[in-house]
Amino acid sequence: MTAHDMPKAPVIAEVRDLRVQFDSKRGNVHAVDGVGFQIRDGEMLGLVGETGCGKSVTGRAFLNLIPRPPAKIAGGRVLFRPRGGAPCPDCAGEGCEACGRTGTETVDLLTLPPKPMRAIRGARIAMIFQDPGKALNPTLTIGAQLAEVFLQHRSEALLAEAGVSPEETGWQANALRRMAREEDRWLDRRLKGLPPLSSAAAKLDAALDAHVAAALAETQIPNPARVMRAYPHELSGGMRQRVMIAQALACDPDLIIADEPTTALDVTIQARILDLIKTLQRKRRTSVLYISHDLSLVRRVCDRVAVMYAGRIAEIGTVAQVFADPRHPYTQGLIAAVPRAGTGRGHLASIPGSVPELVDPPPGCRFADRCAHVMAECTRANPVAREVAPGHQSVCFLEKTGQTAAPATSEASTT
């Protein structure tokens, strides 16, 4: 990725040449193969592609949630610059190229030790999963699950609200600190209800409840007090997804990875959840990596979009650029395959063939055998990203030769 000359928001996260491989009986599956993109502060980047294109794996790399083994990181870096992190050593917080003009130190999420990773997870980077029914613990109430986030990342604020100052010492203050950090011992729990501790503990619980209720209320959940006491199965799918969003937003993260957050929901509920995510994202200037297979949805909610195919980025640009002027033949095919208001009835333009197997693939463009514009070099070498307009890149040999894949071909097959 080259730096653009347009004035841009700081780059808070960046994936560089990420390669993830899975061991299989038949060989190495190159699930993610040299993916790179940047996420700017406050933007919503859509990552679209079909099943198995590696979009979810890429998203999970941000939280180190790729199961290793069977997966292994064969290369690349996932860089992140949390707001309020240590100043960048190169420019002392001024903002330079090395830190993507954020002024904060860059951390590589793939090599981060477990402890600082835990501090980032949930607090600085949060994740919204596709199936809220599976992502919530069925044995805990909604309130208890949300409380956990605050206990993990907001214990100082909780203690302050409970009236425990940082200087205070003595066993009572220490016991409360342990409670606020979810490190309470057996004895603490026994003493919690007894006079010297009970009033402060009650304050702590009240502060916690207030935080949880506020987080739920922000996602427009009606009657947060009742939802807090409910178990996940007692809520509808849309409501569970709201709880997931409340959980993700609880600690005001810099980056949210949303992995198909509305796929399991009905259209009318999907519309409300999208509306909610968009509103909250604008309000808080959170960056969002929005992973989805639904092109029309990404077009509606995202600022920029990256199209993935078979473990690689095919095209990246602003939503307007990619949808108005798709350059990569795959993007063109994908857009043409979606039934829409304007297309007549009858045949849809479909991409012939199917997704290639990614077991030890040979060099060359992964789309070559399905592409209508395939040339000799397509199967010889890997295509590289070419800038077709400021901020709009297509990873295709057609761009080098100056030709443009004529989108007219998809219309030709429509009739």
Binding site: F22, S24, K25, P70
Partner: protein
């Protein structure tokens, strides 16, 4: 053209055979399963070729031979490589012929219990209603008592003999199959492929034969393999506490009769048969676990 077409020379039978080969191969690629398979093959070989390995005792080969001239001999004694028992029985003879007893016991019990369990489970799952309720309550009662204690009680009532041990094991071990079969029927009956078969108008019998039975057989086969080991373990325990005839070539009986000597340093009479019981149970458990993974058509071919 038809002659040269490789696909025409293909047949359903060949493909099924190849798939069985694949299952076997994937079993052998897992090292622990392969180890289990090797042990099982060796044990089965021992059972089958027992008359050639150790000349049978006349008249009843399942009775331990008595060499009163060489009692309590340690391992390594000429003619008795694993030593002899208090009664002068050759431990090696017991180990070899004991594998026959164990094989008989586990094969009889597994085949009888699988048939009983599948039939009862199928009746419960297919008929449903109060018959299902009644059968499943009986199953619950059976399952609430630990296998070993239940088998012990039954065997004690029937009286001490090897046949009665087999009988008691049959009474105890069918319940799991009934429960698995019923659960599978209820699960598979709701599946889309059964719905599809109903839409095409296929008969209930055909749906049972072609959809339910083949798909339910996987967990049954896994359980049966695990039980091949467990049955010998429980059977040996029953023999050990004296519910079998004394003096027969059976590992549990040998362990039982040899254990008195351990305190006086004669470890061999019970250690070798004990080791065999251990190997037998271990091997079938290893293979059963491997089978669970290998037989699942969804995991196979993927990943």
């Amino acid at each position: 053209m038809a002659m040269t077409d490789p696909i025409l020379s293909e047949s359903a039978a060949k493909v099924r055979l190849r798939r069985q080969g694949e299952v076997l191969r994937s079993l052998m690629t897992n090292p622990t399963t392969a180890l289990g398979m090797i042990i099982i093959i060796l044990l089965l070989g021992m059972a089958i070729f027992a008359p050639y390995l150790m000349p049978p005792n006349i008249p009843d080969p399942y009775q331990m031979p008595r060499d009163w001239g060489a009692t309590r001999m340690p391992p390594g004694t000429p003619g008795h490589p694993l030593g002899t028992t208090n009664q002068g029985g050759d431990v090696l003879y017991g180990v070899v012929w004991g594998s026959r007893s164990s094989l008989q016991m586990s094969l009889i019990v597994v085949s009888v219990t699988v048939v009983i369990g599948v039939v009862i489970g199928s009746i419960a799952g297919i008929v449903g209603g109060w018959i299902d309720e009644a059968l499943m309550r009986v199953v619950d009662i059976f399952l609430s008592i630990p296998e070993l204690i239940f088998a012990l009680a039954v065997a004690a009532i029937l009286g001490p003999s090897f046949t009665n041990i087999i009988l008691s094991l049959c009474i105890v071990f069918w319940v799991k199959y009934a429960r698995i079969m019923r659960a599978q029927i209820i699960l598979i009956r709701q599946s889309d492929y059964v719905q599809a078969a109903r839409v095409m108008g296929d008969s209930r019998f055909n749906i049972f034969r072609r959809d339910i039975l083949p798909n339910a057989s996987t967990p049954i086969a896994v359980q049966a393999t695990l039980d091949m080991g467990n049955i010998v373990l429980v059977g040996a325990t029953l023999s050990f506490i004296g519910l079998s005839e004394s003096g027969i070539a059976e590992w549990g009986v040998l362990v039982s009769e040899g254990q008195a000597g351990i305190a006086s340093g004669r470890w061999w009479a019970s250690t070798f048969p004990g080791l065999m019981i251990f190997l037998w149970a271990l091997a079938f458990n290893l293979v059963g676990d491997g089978l669970r993974d290998a037989l699942d058509p969804r995991t196979e071919g993927k990943r």
